[in-house]
């Protein structure tokens, strides 16, 4: 525990605390602007951290990322532009809540649920980090493949339009992910000789187009100012009641998030989808999901932040960063002489604990900053719809442009917006398309790698115990869903025949 008190001293000084606060405000700002990502915010911070002491430097990155990701829920709730692939899982619910005049509650659940999830992740990891990291190392391409398929299946099967439409949305996303060069052999696919397509299709312009542009095309001239907002004095009113009512979801979301988050590269994006669908499957009122129901929001929101904390574990313990943000952070750690890897735990445990404490502080800081954000969010509803439409579309254009600094992203956004406009009119959900794009390369790479290791024998996918469990679970979920769809269709037909 001596290391722990040393760590407290490293964190609780004016310089570090001020850095954490400023980085959090910066993260809030970047995350709340549609099209700007946590990765971008982190990359922009690196040159600044160059002139700081090690702990404030890493604290800046952690607090900025955590805040940017949570703030990514704001444009999702208010404008239906999810900030991260994870928040696309529950954007439908939070957006509908806001449209029903409960923007404060939606943001409140997002913020408070995230804080609790993040703090849970912190406590959980404080004790299990090395163990968890070790377990994650036992995952090969077989386990990753099934896990990714399981997450994709969850997204497709819970979507509101039913199994066939959900599956089609998912397949469309997987196809979009294949455009460009194949991840293992670099063969160009579906590029028609176009150089821009050769680089692949990024999910950000697609996400912006599918969610935001299509929503504007649909909402048309309907005035947002007509949406009466409640709880102006205390925007978080009702939040605690909702969290208490769904405390089981909160707990389960946090645990699953902490476990899945520790898998490098997959955890963060997948976990929220898995727990959202779990919430729907175990709910007493699954029909309310996607229409502004807090239950899934509570569970997936908690998962999101718990997974975020956990995603730092493989980076810290093995020096294997799972995504761009942790990779940048690993770079900063190395430059500051805090070599990530097992020696960080043994030689400099105070640094490890200091990083964990920064997590806790960043999470707690979300409460006041989130409250202010929620309080000012109602201004959005007072802006005339006509002006809001123009501003949102400008943000969409700039956000899509900034991915590769080319107009190509804007074309993608426009095309995606039109496709989504048509699909949503026929009840085909957009969220599985986005997840398909994000996880497509992961599924394919692990599938192909596994096929090579197993010499093309499909039974090899069930040859390792954990893989077998995931595989059987995935197949069962599909079998049950297909059976249900077919029997529902038959009943509907019998009923129709009976009426005729």
């Amino acid at each position: 525990m001596e290391a722990f008190s040393l760590a407290l001293g490293l964190v609780f000084n004016f310089e570090t605390l001020l850095t954490i606060f400023l980085a959090a405000v910066f993260g809030l700002f970047v995350g709340a602007i549609p099209g700007l990502t946590a990765t971008m915010a982190t990359a922009l911070l690196v040159p600044v951290t160059f002139y700081m002491a090690p702990i404030p430097a890493i604290a800046a990155i952690i607090s900025c990322t955590a805040m940017a990701i949570t703030a990514g829920d704001l444009p999702g709730t208010l404008l239906r532009i999810p900030g991260t692939p994870a928040s696309a899982a529950y954007v439908e619910d939070s957006y509908r809540l806001a449209q029903n005049g409960k923007a404060g509650l939606a943001i409140g659940i997002g913020v408070v649920g995230s804080v609790l999830g993040g703090l849970f992740g912190f406590l959980f990891l404080l004790f299990t980090a090395p163990m968890l990291a070790k377990a994650a190392l036992g995952f090969s391409s077989f386990e990753y493949f099934w896990l990714a398929v399981l997450g994709l299946s969850c997204a497709a099967l819970i979507s509101s339009g039913g199994l066939v439409k959900g599956a089609l949305a998912l397949l469309l996303g997987l196809f979009i992910a294949q455009v460009g060069m194949d991840p293992l052999t670099a063969t160009p696919r579906f590029t028609f000789g176009n150089l821009e397509l050769m680089g692949g299709i990024s999910f950000i312009p697609i996400m912006i187009g599918m969610f935001a542009v299509s929503e504007i095309m649909r909402a048309g001239r309907r005035a947002m100012a007509e949406v009466p907002q409640m709880n102006l004095k205390n925007p978080f009113e009702g939040t605690m009641a909702a969290l208490w009512k769904y405390r089981k979801n909160q707990m389960r979301g946090s645990i699953i998030g902490s476990l899945l988050g520790a898998l490098p590269g997959v955890g963060g994006d997948l976990a929220a989808w898995i727990t959202y669908s779990l919430a729907k499957r175990t709910s007493k009122e699954p029909e309310k999901f996607g229409k502004g129901h807090p239950e899934g929001l509570v569970e997936a929101g908690a998962t999101n932040n718990a997974a975020l904390s956990a995603s730092w574990i493989p980076a810290m313990v093995f020096g294997i960063p799972g995504d761009a943000v942790t990779a940048i952070a690993v770079g900063v750690l190395v430059m500051k002489g805090l070599d990530p890897g097992p020696t960080l735990m043994t030689l400099h445990p105070q640094n490890f604990y200091a990083v964990m404490i920064v997590f806790a502080i960043a999470n707690i800081l979300m409460l006041p900053l989130g409250w202010v954000a929620a309080k000012s969010a109602r201004w959005i509803f007072e802006v005339p719809r006509a002006l809001l439409n123009a501003a949102i579309l400008l943000f969409c254009i700039v956000g899509s442009y900034s991915i590769n600094n080319s107009m190509f992203g804007v074309w993608l956004m426009l095309g995606a917006g039109i496709v989504a406009y048509v699909l949503e009119a026929r009840m085909i959900a957009i969220a599985p398309i986005i997840l398909g794009i994000v996880l497509g390369p992961l599924v394919e790479t692990n599938f192909t790698t596994s096929m090579m290791i197993a010499d093309g024998n499909l039974l090899g996918f069930f040859g390792r115990p954990v893989a077998a469990v995931f595989g059987v679970a995935t197949l069962l979920i599909w079998a049950v869903s297909i059976y249900r769809t077919v029997s529902d269709a038959r009943n509907a037909r019998l009923e129709a025949a009976g009426h005729a």
Partner: protein
């Protein structure tokens, strides 16, 4: 409408025409394309160079990971970018191989080399509880196909390093098939989880996993032992057959870079590579420094192209 377009076009052109003369390079942010995943060795070295180069040039440098296709996606993007000095890239060993293995027509002539900064030999790794190099090779001889190897893409330096170990010991490379991956960390994860038997990669790439006690190096395919792991024998010491395979990294720009911009970059890189900060970083991560200036790098690339072509033909990987 057409009038407006013409006018706009003319205006845009005139602005473009004045711009280079008016501005002193660099006057805005530079993108540095890294063709490999975030967290790998190329990414780490690319990021430290970006940070130090930023100080030299006085403009922000954004590191962009363009992964996929065994580095081809990123390498292609570097070569296709406008040669204005605002897009640079880290080019790696694989560049000398693409056209030999026939996966892409790219070669060193598509680039303007600026500086070579690193070279490391490939080493052979197994799990910590894995066999010795002799036992590993006899297992492969006895049961062809039972041991799978990985390290990076198909036909990359890691693959060549492994095939070379087999060929110099008179084993058919097909007896221990290569499983392509997105890079060293993905392959090491496969090795640690027990899905495959061997990984070839460089010492610095494997170091966190070696430190964690998950994997161990058996031999290095080098001319002499490396400072980072003095206990690990060379291929020649362990098996009696000489075999060396080095992976390298350098900074390059698209072909057609203006001379003054190239000179400015080369001068800045010279300062970066010779700075204490860079040397400390490379030593800390066990990366070997091999610095060559623009002309030296170009000669190196030409030479590497020929020698790697010969090696690939020898092990049957060339088309």
């Amino acid at each position: 409408m057409t009038h407006l377009k013409t006018l706009a076009g003319a205006l845009a052109l005139s602005v473009l025409a004045i711009a280079p003369a008016a501005a002193q390079y660099p006057d805005h942010a530079i993108n540095l394309i890294v063709p490999w995943a975030a967290g790998g060795g190329t990414d780490a070295t690319g990021r430290i160079i970006a940070t130090l180069l930023e100080k030299e040039l006085g403009q922000p440098i954004n590191v962009i990971n363009r992964t996929g296709g065994g580095g081809i996606v990123g390498h292609t993007e570097i070569s296709y970018s406008p040669p204005d000095g605002y897009t640079l890239g880290v080019i790696t060993t694989e560049l000398s191989m693409y056209h030999w293995t026939g996966v892409s027509p790219l070669n060193y002539e598509n680039y303007e080399p600026i500086a070579l900064f690193n070279a490391d030999p490939e080493a052979v790794f197994v799990r910590t509880d894995g066999p010795s190099i002799e036992d590993l090779l006899s297992e492969i001889r006895a049961n062809p196909g039972s041991v799978k190897a990985s390290g990076a893409n198909l036909g990359g330096m890691a693959h060549l390093g492994w095939a070379g170990v087999l060929v110099t010991n008179e084993i058919d490379p097909a007896a221990a098939p290569w499983v392509p991956s997105e890079g060293a960390s993905a392959s090491l994860q496969l090795l640690a989880s027990g899905a495959i038997g061997v990984v070839t990669t460089t010492m610095p790439d494997a170091r966190p996993m070696v430190d964690a006690g998950e994997v161990k190096p058996l031999i290095v395919a080098a001319n002499e032992r490396v400072a980072a792991a003095p206990d690990v024998p060379t291929a020649e010491e362990a098996l009696g057959n000489k075999w060396a395979a080095y992976a390298w990294r350098g900074i390059a720009a698209p072909k057609g870079l203006p001379e003054d911009v190239k000179a400015r970059l080369a001068e800045a890189m010279d300062k970066v590579v010779n700075s204490q900060e860079f040397k400390d970083f490379m030593a800390q991560r066990n990366f070997g420094i091999d610095y060559r200036d623009a002309a030296g790098f170009e000669a190196f690339l030409k030479d590497a192209d020929e020698s790697i072509g010969k090696a690939l033909q020898a092990v049957g990987l060339a088309k």
